[in-house]
């Protein structure tokens, strides 16, 4: 990971990019549902849109989890190395940071999606 420049910083922010995409898509779909009656038909007791928003949230969380897991794995490997080289300490820093960013992004997505569970699509 550290050998490929500037993948480090880009990879690190990917979970937050996923958060941003999720936010934009969820907000836009909700707007479409209210203004253009998109996917308002009820399915299994809930509006289709609610199901779609849930599915998108799970998808976003899944992608973030993948990023987080790979960062965590890389961090464990970097932590196990004790050669004292600068590259190792840089790798340790970047992987730890990436894992934490994934955690924050997951909290962000969950926070954003929480209202879907509590409110109807348009009110």
């Amino acid at each position: 990971m550290s050998a490929m420049l500037p993948i480090g910083l880009t990879r690190m922010s990917m979970p937050l990019v996923v958060w941003a995409l999720h936010f934009v898509v969820v907000y836009s779909l909700q707007g479409l549902a209210c203004a253009r009656a998109l996917w308002r038909a009820p399915v299994a007791g809930l509006e289709t849109m609610t199901w779609v928003l849930w599915a998108l949230t799970l998808l976003a969380l899944g992608v973030i989890a993948l990023f987080g897991a790979s960062a965590l794995r890389a961090w464990r490997i970097a932590r196990a190395q004790t050669d004292g080289r600068t590259e190792t300490s840089r790798l340790r820093f970047l992987t730890a940071l990436s894992a934490l960013v994934a955690l924050i992004a997951a909290i962000g997505v969950a926070f954003t999606a929480l209202p879907v569970a509590l409110l109807p699509t348009c009110a």
């Binding site: 958060w19 936010f23 600068t86 924050i104 926070f111 929480l114």
Partner: protein, 846 residues
Amino acid sequence: MSTLTPDHTIPTPGDHLRHAERIALLERVWANGRGLVGQLTAVNHTTIALRFIVTGLVFLLIGGMLSMFIRLQLSWPGLNVLDPERYAQFVTMHGTTMMFLFAVPIMEGFAMYLIPKMLGTRDLPFPRLSAFGWWCYLFGGIFLYSSFIFGSVPDGGWFMYTPLTDSTYSPGKGADFWLIGVTFAEIAAVTAAVELIVAILVTRAPGMDLTRMPLFAWAVLVTAFMIAFGFPPLILASLLLEIQRAFDFAFFEVARGGDPLLWQHLFWLFGHPEVYIIFLPAAGVVSTIVPTFARRPIVGYTWVVLALVATGFLSFGLWVHHMFAVGIPLLALAFFSAASMAVAIPTGIQIFAWIATLWAGKPWLRVPMLYIIGFFITFVCGGLTGVMLAFVPFDWQAHDTHFVVAHLHYVLIGGMMFPMFAGLYYWLPLASGRMPSESLSRSGFWLVFIGFHLAFLPMHITGLVGMPRRVDSYAMELGVQWLNLLSTAAGFVLAVGIVAILIDVALCFRLGRRGTENPWQAGTLEWALPHPAPKYNFASIPVVDDRNPLWHDPGVVEATRRTDGLLGEAVDGRRWIIGTGIQSAQPEQAIRLSNSTWLPLFAALTIAVLLGGFITSQYWLSILMLLPLIGLFLRWLWTVNGRETPLEIEVAPGLRLPTQALARNAPGWWALVGTLMIVGSLFASLVFAYFYLWLNAPAWPGGGATLTASTPMLAALGALLAAGVGAWRMPIALRAGHTRAAVIWSAFAILSAIACLALQLPAIADAVGAPQRHAYGSVVWTLAGFQALHIAVAVLIAGFVALRIHHGHVDAVRSLEARIATGFWRYVVAQGLIVWALLHLFPRFA
């Protein structure tokens, strides 16, 4: 300056003669010119940054004076200090000045001053761009304030809500002064963003890899990215509103299919991140000062970086919390309410890291630290009322009352002004070589702190009782007159405090006690410099192996002052810096910078005349000014790196580095990336506007006009792709050494692009008609015009590069400019495809 600087250097044996010579050469190469001309042509980062700071402080005083009038008017019900019209003008100018002419520019000034010094380099990578930014900021501010001379001061509030600011409800020129002046001044923000991103990514001292970067640099890096994505929505909104006012387009007019709420979305899409654009650099200042006075490295470095990055993203998800009361569906409000609360997490992480650092260290209470404590107290209060306002029902209750005024001043003054003063006192010895007077600066602090809290604490109560904001008086029956009188009196105490601080700082430069070096015993690189810092910063570029190099290895101070290290010898009498790898910070390239030049001043002046022509409706003058403007920028680019630049230089005995025209991570390349982020964000805002208008318009497209794919449209698409092929083949031919073929491919791209416009624009005119008819036509024409403008720029670039190839400045080895040109063309083709699909395919499905 050199007479003030004691020579601490111990040259290596046998080198002392060469040392004095080398220092003299560095002094000469990096000095600004003499006298007034020297000041007008200066581009050095220290000079320009101090100008940003001084100009920002002057605007603080002006904006503060306006607020004194506002407070006088509100001190008792029914006063007539300002009539309602003047009151609206003063409120507008106060907010506008504080946001656009004080808070953002002064933080840029701090960043521009500190970043090269903290990173261990000599200047920012694009010195002319910094100077150009400052002139635009200065002229933009003067432009805005000249509205007082012409008697048409903006009065629509700093948020300029439509339809209040359209030509029906704001006839005169007031709103135009705002839209044009602020956009002019904002050029400084976006140019500084590009400058700082490139500086932090590629010009750090060797060894300063990402884990050793000062937290202030991290904060500025995130802020610069936020500016690149956050300012374009506002710039676009300003352009749309100005186009509507000047040419009668219909973006915000309901009768013709527009929507006034579009303005609010675009404005707050900028406006909320703006709060963090101001706060993050201030947080970086806190993260720098706290470890120094706790006398230990910061606790949780990784966590603080995490918090900065997370804030940078999450703060873009909150804009609608300024619009809770405009009638948006509840679920949408809840998304933004949730995001508003989520952003408290990273802010909390930073606050805990600072407290933990103080806890684990041995704190030392000097003046900068006093301001940091003032910051903690004030900012935490502001944050708490912020979380309260993030709850939709509470916001409905407190909306548009003085509770919000109290909240935003707690956040902005607490979160930005206290850290800014802390930084001012902290770095004063470095800039002036002298120490501020401890007693005067402490009194200044207490006046500001007490004055501020007494002025704004009561506003929480007056707001909850129901005193409205943005209104020039209130009813006696509310019973808040005594609280208001207290606010006004305390406001004057605050003002006296600020004036005292500024006098103190100014006096320090003349009368301060000559300071010892590194008086706070800080660990970051800028303190390795002699005080006051010389124009070239470091005699030798330092090599770094720790986050706090001065604590880790005090020898670094001496090493940077000798001239036998990196770049100690000024090569060929030009300004050089070193470029390093983005992650590893290993030396990669030598970067040659510009000397003093008139170009930035002339370019900004030309823009000022152009805008002056526009606001007075002398459009011929504006169009005429395009010629000198393009000429100046071409001249600017022509003088970057020609064939006279060496291919590599010896930066230290035995270490040769390629110059930037050959390097992969060349500053020019990253400047393109930064610029395209800004342009892309501008374009994305426009696409958002298109969809927003479509979604909210009752009839779309209006007037039965529809634009769908037809034969000329498909031909235009083909021409666009052909242009892309030309731009793609050009550098390939160049690298293979076929310069003639490269020139021909450039010409092919230019002709195809022109053909694309010639096919597309008449077809749009046929199908859509005049842009004034309906918001649909307005937005279609704006999209087409936006794309046409980019094609025009791409054509200019292709012509320029072809000319450079012809003259031998660009060739198979020095291919950077060809790479940049192709990068821009790729973007223009991609954007063209999106515009094409949006204009000609989307109406089929909508």
